[in-house]
Subunit: 471 residues, 2 copies
């Protein structure tokens, strides 16, 4: 398969340069093997602060060896400058922010940043790099929290930041087609004006690119209601590593013709090709939205609140998020945000979205009455007005930001049966002791495509440890 054939030239997860044989003798087992190699290599990812982790060449934390890719020559630069005049960046100061990830955990040494505006330019860049055996690191908003968006060595950074145009929007079907570098929040604003919303939302919305969201199969805050990108992404345009353009930009809700090749590019993090355009099904803006912010005195009570919520809010439940008291302290300390309720060990953000404000409020009030009288919830506040909704949401959304003010953050997304998930945070606290400034837990509860009936799993809990630099 050509789609796999050339990706040896593309860095995997932008951090590890894959070593599949170029003659493409690969079979399924080889791919499996490569994936395993990938995971183990990722553990060896070069850390900016590897000294903290006690890394040495033979230990985890050390960088994997650079593979025999070519070095960028003067001729290469001349080619890029002709192709992308003024958009071939080599100034080290300008390159710095693209070489470091948002959490400042990992850093590369790329000397060239390319900023194409069109699919054709991306195609020409990749064709050239493929012919010259130059490694490439595709980069969207560089908001990833797992070190996946920056180079490991001197890979050329291919940024989608200037590919930021909406191509078409159909305000009957709600189908948006846009370039991969569109910032999620800009798309949201564009749609809100037209009475639609994006089917995904995340804390990084102000910077992250839709192409990066799709490449990483981002879940985010609306997954509970609108399902995964595997369902809402209707089509993709992708440039393969040898420059060929694969157009799967279908805009049909159901398309069973041939193999659904676009699925291969969702979540494969640029390893199979660079996504250059996305078509996505956008839901209509809900008529009524409410947000409740609640406090719980134990994780067990939080889970019972979730169970109760699923039953009583049913199909209008659109988000159920939580964070712990340590997160709240950091929000107050570094971002000067105010806790709107009395202090609690755990906080919950619940959002409802529905078609009938009266029915929704009635359901919400019945639910709140139930959880207050049964003492599952200790305190709470409800918002129906946009500004207040935004303020409540920002508490949850800005936890990651607050953590960065404390120093280096290690963040893990973990899926476990719900009963056990918070034990991880407590065990980690015990394990790290005063090695860590903070060990906090926050995330989504019960991701499901069918809100009233989702499974009892927490699927994302971010255990963020701020390691003390002095250690």
């Amino acid at each position: 398969m050509g789609i796999f054939q050339r990706f040896a030239r593309l860095p995997l997860k932008s951090t590890y340069i894959w070593s599949l044989c170029p003659q493409y003798s690969t079979d399924l087992t080889a791919v499996d093997r490569a994936l395993i190699v990938r995971s183990s290599q990722l553990i060896q990812h070069r850390c900016v602060h590897s000294r903290v982790m006690g890394a040495s060449p033979g230990n985890p934390g050390a960088a994997p060896p650079r593979l025999p890719f070519s070095r960028v020559t003067r001729e290469d630069l001349a080619f890029f400058r002709t192709l992308l005049p003024g958009r071939t960046i080599t100034d080290p100061d300008l390159l710095k922010s693209s070489n470091v990830d948002w959490l400042k955990t990992v850093e590369g040494n790329s000397e060239v940043l390319l900023r194409p505006k069109t699919t054709e330019e991306v195609s020409q860049i990749l064709r050239h790099c493929n012919e010259r055996n130059l490694a490439v690191c595709p980069q969207g908003g560089n908001t990833g929290l797992v070190g996946g968006s920056v180079p490991v060595f001197d890979e050329i950074i291919l940024s989608t930041s200037l590919m930021n145009q909406v191509i078409t929007f159909d305000n009957i079907s709600g189908i948006l087609t846009c370039q991969a570098g569109c910032v999620l929040e800009n798309l949201s604003n564009y749609l809100e004006e037209r009475d639609f919303i994006m089917p995904l939302d995340l804390g990084a919305k102000g910077s992250c690119h839709i192409g990066g969201n799709v490449s990483t199969n981002a879940g985010g805050l609306r997954l509970l209601r609108y399902g995964s990108l595997r369902g809402t992404v209707l089509g993709l345009e992708v440039v393969l590593a040898d420059g060929r353009i694969l157009n799967c930009l279908a805009t049909l809700r159901k398309d069973n013709t041939g193999y659904d090749l676009k699925q291969l590019f969702i979540g494969s993090e640029g390893t199979l090709g660079v996504i250059t355009a996305v078509s996505i099904l956008c839901p209509r803006k809900p008529k009524a939205v409410n947000v409740a912010f609640l406090g719980c005195s134990s994780f067990q009570q939080l889970l019972e609140t979730f169970q109760c919520c699923r039953g009583m809010l049913g199909e209008i439940l659109s988000a159920f998020e939580f964070f712990d008291a340590s997160c709240m302290s950091l929000l107050e300390k570094h971002l000067k945000l105010t806790n709107p309720i009395t202090e609690s060990p755990f906080y919950i953000v619940i959002e409802t979205a529905g078609s009938n404000a009266t029915h929704d409020e009635e359901k919400l009030h019945k639910f709140l009455e139930e959880v207050m009288t049964s003492s599952l919830v200790t305190d709470g506040t409800v918002a129906t007005e946009a500004t207040k909704i935004k303020a409540l949401w920002s508490l949850r959304e800005r936890v990651t930001e607050a953590l960065t003010h404390e120093g280096y953050t290690y963040k893990y997304d973990i899926s476990l049966p719900v009963e056990k998930i918070y034990d991880l945070v407590q065990d980690m606290r015990g394990h790290l002791g005063d090695m860590a400034k903070n060990v906090v837990g926050y995330g989504h509860v019960g991701m499901s495509s069918e809100p009233s009936t989702g499974p009892d799993y927490i699927l994302c809990i971010s255990i963020a440890n701020n390691i003390k630099l002095s250690q």
Copy 2:
């Protein structure tokens, strides 16, 4: 890629034997080409009643040439009989129903039907067939309406009908894992007892297999509410054409580790491997279900009713189906079903499913009041009781069955913008004149993963022409 490497030995869509070179030099373009070849070859599919279509060897309707696969020998049969004692069928009478599709449109000449019970047996069958260069036709419930489930020539039929065991069900998460040959209705009954439902439902539920549903990426009646199988199928176990077993039976709601290989098998109709087990996320049984059966005097009014319905029923709308007056005549004539309302050119079945019976009924009644007073709808009836709901649903579900009583049926699933879709039926009527006994239209309206906000497309309209045999 190994997954593609050997499928030259598997018939494509069970009707066309693919001719990709076995040395696997294929690249993406080759796959595209193959898909195109596939479509054109399908047009040449051998018809049972090719005389009706005036087929001749050089014309559409003629069979494609048989590719140089081996013939089944006595040694092969001995191997199968040792592997599957009593489950290697060679009696022509017993084979007959597996050689003909449900609509009796196409017929193969297979002389061997194998009925494995386990994945290991499927693996051994395929390994043997691969080594012996024997063509295989995987078959589920053989309920497909497009001739995809029967052999073209003498392919060995590999039936999943004895692979009918539920493996596990988690009544907290709603995750069901079962063998591929489980009949959809049996799974539905199994789940209903446990207060869950299957995320898909179709007219053929009494015979169709879950493996076949996944292989064909079946949409069905609940797609509007629970989304496509690409989201609800969490894992698959697949046997590749050379007998290797690929275990992707994950039961996580979100699994971003590695490539999502299972997506390749959803909708690829057995061409990449045989699905042997499925794990699927099942929604909890809704607390309140209502069905409304309405009559409309024009297709335009039907579309306006749909628009109104989406706005007023919002998140509780779980199905919106239609059929025309010609369908109703056939239901009355052949199945003795009774039209519960006054005669109309068009009929609509609307289903709501929600968490609060009072709210749902209030929404439904407001909607009905609106469409009756604005004369969008001429007559209607509502059911909340299970037996009556079933009776109303069977009108829509049994249209295809009613058509078969009139003779050979050609059925097309077509996606077009909503405004134009019914013109097709009318144009076809004009075009065929008295060549056709009936030209009818029926199907789903507005398939969407987000009920309140779906797009304005009809995505499936079955234009069924009963061609007169006398012509």
